[in-house]
Symmetry: C2
Subunit: 564 residues, 2 copies
Amino acid sequence: MHGLSEADLGLILLALAVLIGAARLLGEIARRFQQPAVLGELLAGVVLGPTVLGTLLPEWHHALFPGDGAKAVVLEGIGFLAIVLFLLVAGIEVDLSTVWRQGRSALKVGILGTVAPFLIGLGGAWLIPEALGATPDADRTVFALFLATALSISALPIIAKTLMDLNLYRTDVGMVVVSAAIFNDLIGWTVFALILGMIGGQGTGWGICGTMVLTLAFLAVTLTAGRWLIHRALPILQAYAHWPAGVLGFVVTLGLLGGAFMQSIGVHAIFGAFIVGIAVGESSHLHERTRTLLEEFVSFIFAPVFFASIGLRVNFVTNFDLPLVAMILVLACVGKVAGVVVGALWGGLPARQSWAVGFAMNARGAMEIILGLLALEAGIISERLFVALVVMAIVTSAVSGPLMSWVLQQRQPFRLASVLSSKLFVRNLAATSRHEAIDELVTLACQHAAVDPVRISRLVWEREMVAATGIGSGIALPHARVDGLKNAVVAIGLSEAGVDFDAPDGQPAHAIFLLLTPQDAPTVQLTISAKIASIFRDPHALPRVMRAGSYTEFLAALKILEPQ
Amino acid sequence: MHGLSEADLGLILLALAVLIGAARLLGEIARRFQQPAVLGELLAGVVLGPTVLGTLLPEWHHALFPGDGAKAVVLEGIGFLAIVLFLLVAGIEVDLSTVWRQGRSALKVGILGTVAPFLIGLGGAWLIPEALGATPDADRTVFALFLATALSISALPIIAKTLMDLNLYRTDVGMVVVSAAIFNDLIGWTVFALILGMIGGQGTGWGICGTMVLTLAFLAVTLTAGRWLIHRALPILQAYAHWPAGVLGFVVTLGLLGGAFMQSIGVHAIFGAFIVGIAVGESSHLHERTRTLLEEFVSFIFAPVFFASIGLRVNFVTNFDLPLVAMILVLACVGKVAGVVVGALWGGLPARQSWAVGFAMNARGAMEIILGLLALEAGIISERLFVALVVMAIVTSAVSGPLMSWVLQQRQPFRLASVLSSKLFVRNLAATSRHEAIDELVTLACQHAAVDPVRISRLVWEREMVAATGIGSGIALPHARVDGLKNAVVAIGLSEAGVDFDAPDGQPAHAIFLLLTPQDAPTVQLTISAKIASIFRDPHALPRVMRAGSYTEFLAALKILEPQ
């Protein structure tokens, strides 16, 4: 075959740019609607793939994402590398020691949450394989094992993200969920690796048994001797090599080597990278900064490329089979939620928390989609079933958070940005005195909130008379609790010259936050003022905020300063 | 052509793992010998390429790095992506405003440092093209322009790194060098883009003139309107999208788009990515964390892949032509150093500093190699000249730092690790009192330094009697200046229980550093104690150091804590 022409190289860059750009954009839009970013990333592929672009503008689609030829091979290779690195990072996030610490209740949830959907999947696939989307020439045992695994696996990254969003990650419920999911994933991926070995092992000269033995041996050796060696090697690299380059290069090299080994014995590279990731992540010597560097670059650049490229492969409209989608969805949810809830009750959790654990573990997310794609490539499942699995993965992930917060009555943690508005922001206060500053902000706030400025002004001044609201470090927080107000109103004024708010440190206030909160919600005002005070405790915070020339820049500065 | 087989995918991962692993390893070894890491990375390619592995084990070489077929295409595509991202990052590091701030002297250095080697290269190439390695069918004008550009370009990343290593980056000399190099690079790359346009433009339908006009237009538009738009867009992304994912995806997408555009008009993608990088880097809204994330991942993973893959292309032994190498080296050094020194003297710098600027700007590094590779691919130069250019780039980079430090009598900044030794480290001090602790460390230090322990003990105690050396935060620094000692000796003892060193904060000392310094070098002791005190001012430092179970882990912890 021929190499890449100059024009090919240009089109490859364009294709990658379009994939990354569209995936990130739709990923952000998904997040706006409280959905996982992976949903938007998949959608980008659907838009750019045969489903939309290929139907509307087939020539464009073909020029950017051709089905064969040198360009297609390069994009396939980059997509493959992306998924291997993504699983390496997913492995690093797994913390095996959590499982041991959580002990029995996690184990019970893990076991029942794996076995119940597995048996349901196995039974269904054995009884009605064609109705569930098996290809006509697929081996019945292989198909049944695959579907069973697909229904029982869960998605650690999505689950962890949902728990963090709900401020539940470090709670008991959160830890039970995470450790059960880790257990679940380890079993699920091992079974899946063995299934792939049953298909791929035949072609490699190892045979099916050889492949299975090698897979289990790799798992055992990497998680014991390998883990020990990595734990020993990391401080040596940190001490004597450039940091973080040394550790980063070492981890990526090991992940690729593990992937290459698994691939060579007929399983799939991602399994090798995942196990290496677990072994690396276990070491307490892996520094937070290296972890973040690897995770963020891979999650924000490689993962979008991979997930968007999934949509390029399949037409999601012509392969959408409603009865199949519904059947898969019901089988998946019933098996998983029932198994987990029973396991959690058995493990001694209260009913409400057991249901929360069930909804949490039901999220399938990215892992399901990867599993489905491998099965599609291996010829085990039809495109219709693949589409059904993707839809199931998205739906279960999307409803997981809302159902949990509903059953636990848990709220999302407060973020300052949620109560701010560009209409309530004055970049340069005209005021030079405390009186003028408060008047200026009260006038602005009252236009927005439709309350009487005279009354508000009086309330704020009554409070100000008790004690001045300059809290030091250049910040002032004049405030009042207002009868009849529905939501908190925060008006912000910045002043280069500063306004004297009689702060304990004698500094004039450069950033003045007027807080008006509902009379009947006494904690709101405390939450907001505590948040502002904690942000501006950092001495770099005020100068950074004061550099902002507009509301957007102000918000950008606050976002980086507010701890996640 | 056919897609990738399962075995191909495995071999691609293996090839990448071997490339990254070898490149990082040899890169670290190069750094040990005070050489730029890129030297080791290139060497990794030479070892794995036709020069060594291809000669010794041709089957292995062919299996891992085949010359054609699907695997070769994927590796070529990944290498291409790597260099585009590397130039995007190199562009981000360019700070145009520095050039304006430095004003005339930088401009004079920049102009003469570009024009002198350019004229020498142009003249030489015009007079004796074959002797300088032109291919027989190369256009004489194109070849002369190329060689002129190759001799006049400099390597901003290597230069910046050398200046930082010598603690000169923020000095006047450093800023003159950096801004002259930026000027130099902008001119050099623009000329080179135009040369490529002269060759590539013919094939694209734009024609040579069309390509040149589009290149200059892209440069102008990106650095004015593009820069303004990016500066406006970044705070919006930071404020409303996930951070740093939003900004990271945006920057990478823009860089790839710029690359795709330049590639499509027949120049080369790296030029587009470089210009986009400059426009992005100019924005004060680009947060340090995003910059670091992108720079580190690209420099530590993608760049090694690219530089190692260069060695895969050419046999560096059979194409090594000593007379040609010598001639290129002499032409390059004479033209550049003479031009820069004259420019610096003209700009008003003292003679010694002018020479330092000359040696600094003489480093060619990675940029030269990239330029040479593109010319090789475009058929302008022979493999012999390419090898000569690579050798010239490496030699000029390697001698740059030593020559500068020699002419300026500048020393490398002090690093604590340089005075420590595993032989002078006690993980668990037996001592429970100040007396015992000092005795234990003095005994150890004296075995190592061959001085009399009785005398040292007396000196340390004399000092201890004046005032106790517990400096608080769990650190003690007993010390003495010793007559006849050649080098500083630092013995370290850690104690879980702590030893009372009468610190002002009343805390017992957990990390005790015994400092013995030469009598005739009074500043050494101050430098070391100031460094230790500054490290342990961070309240997280002591707990982290105390987690170390061995000297290597202790050193690893210190390295991360010591500001770079």
